[in-house]
Amino acid sequence: MHNFTPFSALLGGILIGLSSAALLLLEGRIAGIAGICAGAIIPRKGETAWRVSFVAGLLVGGMILRIALPSSFNFGIIRPYGALVLAGLLVGFGTRLGNGCTSGHGVCGIGRLSPRSMIATMTFIASGVLTVYLVNHVLGGMR
């Protein structure tokens, strides 16, 4: 197990939890990034402003990381463009059909013990494990 970084992972996770908790405390909203993203680009009355602001915050946070912690963007593995196009389509479509992603189901959903989110999280991790197995060990890592 190389590259194992438990302390920074735990610290970053705590920040993600605090941000999600603050969004609930202040605005009563669930920090599901897929839903926030969809709501920001497909506007609905009264539902759009907070989502656009959150996405803007993610981008500004990314700019801060670029200056303060540039290693955040040492991607390590970048798949070929064709694979990234397919991956993006699957992530966009799948998170809408399944009502959530790693943040909405994986953090907020499990954090409130939602059965749907627990099932969804187990399902997308299993699906991800199977996909990585196929890509890395059957297709030779797509390099």
Binding site: R51, V55, S72, T123
Partner: protein, 160 residues
Amino acid sequence: MKASVASFVCGIVFALGLGISGMTQPSKVIGFLDIAGAWDLSLAFVMVGAIGVYFVAFRMIRMRRAPMLTGRFSIPTRNDIDPQLILGATIFGAGWGLGGFCPGPAITSLASGAAPVVVFVASMVAGIYLYAMMPNLGSHETKMAAPAEDLSAGAAVGNR
């Protein structure tokens, strides 16, 4: 206005958490999912930290009648396991494993200006639109709880 500023600040903190935890690096995500390769357990620690904080905070926050800046909580109340949930999670997991990005880290990583991230996010947006254009799928909305009648939180408030 206050609510928009709050969302903005939450977004910044969320992005910093993603960067510090290593989740903006597809090698860490793929490393976690690659149980047959050089397995990297870090992502599990991210989830433990995030879920742990949220688990405690959720129970405290739900004792309030309303959030601080808005009139009501918008929390999903569905408990049914429908085929869309399973199929959607399966499709999402496949894309997550293939690209190594999920929505939050992908948007945050746009700040790097790297072309592969731009391609991934553009495709993700196309996937979101594709879903919205499908008439039978695009109509189902997540039910939200009215204040004080939230099913999933009922148990939480009960065993405080």
